[in-house]
Amino acid sequence: MIAAQTSKPWLQTLRLSLTGIVLFLGCWYLAVFLEVTPRRFLPAPHEVLFRFVQLIQEPFVGFTLGQHLLSSFRRFLNGFLLAIAIGIPLGLLMALSRGVQLLVTPIFESIRFVAPIAWVPFAALWFGTGIGGPTLVIFMGAFPPVLINTYRGAIYVDRKYIEAAKMLGAGPIRLMTQVLFPASLPSIVAGLRISAGLGWQSLVGAELIVASSGVGYMMVKGQASIQTQIVMAGMIAIGLVGLLIDILLRRMERRFNRYQEVH
């Protein structure tokens, strides 16, 4: 006990994290060894790792892992940016005008409970398997958190700023862009983080069905040829990129929160 208390906290964190990973891999190997499922349905960790490295170097269904990831990321960016471009202005408008808020709320509140993946059939029918279809599915995942956080952030903006801006002669557009938007940035950025996570998750769902490239597509093809290592390698790649996006946005969030604390 005393030894544990005197050791550095980061060392303790590292030790526990590593223990968790080792335990997980141990269970995995055990399941493989005991053949819980047929051997070819559950590859061993080192086989997945081997395949992961191989996928980076050699193309599978036309592309290397890096290229698949890049095309997935492009789709993600399309949907995510579209969600930002519509969600932020609409959220600010809803905060500014009760009319707009009443107009949007009923539709939005019912649509947002439909899982993004449920849009896949229509995404394919309306926009095809190129760039459009997956973009719609990602948008459906990424849009609600942007809108909700922008709206909530904007309605809780201190009234004194709004009164000051109106007294200074600001019209609705100036009020939105110069006051509501900067004042609710911390909330908006927090929303973007949630939105990016949900969008990235929806992307893979979309690609499982409508795409001719991308990590999700790669996984489907891997499954079809019962190359389970490929499916798992895809899962790892998705996890890693998702984590990367989250770290990036978390850094951005921390910056805005720090800015807010000084007031």
Partner: protein, 265 residues
């Protein structure tokens, strides 16, 4: 050119399901370029009176007219200096002061000219690119005053603008406001609960009673100030030592105190 006119103004609020009168029926005319201070105990509706002139609140009955026009909403011809400053924390000192001019659609050169004039007049030179949180309370209030003055408004509304400042800063700001107001006379409605401040700054002092807010007495300070030559004394403490000042202050204090006694009975 602007005057303010309250015509039988009442303002009722609903609190806990009950309606109560915050402002009980005010008739008052503030002449063009006159500096009027309203004093009264907290909750007497003095801030509500100012907000109705600003257009941030509406009377329940009666009318508030500025320049003969009924006030329907906020606007830059009636600039407000708020007690809590209400500077935009995400904008620099320069951009805070320029905000209203940009909304007016003025050109960059005119904005630069006007903003820089008030930056030097308010002793803010060198802080143009600073953000409000980097300034002291006194400096922040200078920015807020500059932001209102730079609009060249017909009416200037001040809601306990020095209430959040420490005593020393407050005195400096009061002296500066007197200098500024004598140099650029404006129609000013100044809300405060500090009697000395009201007597020192205003041409007339309006004493309000507790809820429902009514005018108890209006004191003409200007004629006494001119007769006793207060403005010959540059320092506030010298003015406050003058017999005529002490007399006025005591008189207003007594009026305020009588109401408290009246309320308690």
């Amino acid at each position: 050119m602007a005057d303010i006119r309250f015509e039988a103004v009442q303002r009722a609020f609903v609190q806990g399901g009950k309606e109560f009168l915050a402002v009980g029926g005010i008739d008052l005319v503030v002449a063009n370029e006159e500096f009027v201070a309203i004093v009264g105990p907290s909750g007497c509706g003095k801030t509500t009176c100012m907000r109705m002139v600003a257009g941030l609140d509406q009377p329940s009955s009666g009318r508030v007219l500025v320049n003969g026009q009924e006030v329907t909403g906020p606007g830059p011809e009636r600039a407000v200096v708020f007690q809590q400053f209400a500077l935009f924390p995400w904008k620099t000192v320069f951009e805070n002061i320029a905000f209203g001019l940009r909304a007016m659609g003025l050109g960059q050169t005119e904005i630069d000219d006007r903003v820089n004039r008030f930056i030097s007049m308010m002793g803010l030179s060198g802080y143009e690119q600073a953000y409000p949180h980097q300034l002291s309370g006194g400096m922040q209030q200078r920015v807020a005053i500059a932001r209102a003055y730079v609009l060249d408004p017909g009416v200037l509304l001040m809601d306990e603008p020095f209430g959040a400042l420490d005593a020393q800063t407050r005195v400096v700001m009061q002296e500066e406001l007197v200098r500024l107001a004598r140099k650029n006379p404006k129609t000013v409605l100044f809300i405060t609960h500090a009697v000395e401040e009201a007597v020192y700054l205003a041409d007339r002092v309006v004493v309000m009673s507790r809820r429902p807010g009514l005018i108890r007495e209006i004191i003409d300070v200007k004629s006494i100030r001119e007769k006793e030559r207060w403005d010959d004394h540059p320092r506030i403490e010298d003015v406050m030592d003058l017999g005529s000042f002490v007399h006025l202050r005591s008189h207003i204090w007594r009026t305020l105190r009588e109401q408290h006694l009246g309320d308690d009975q």
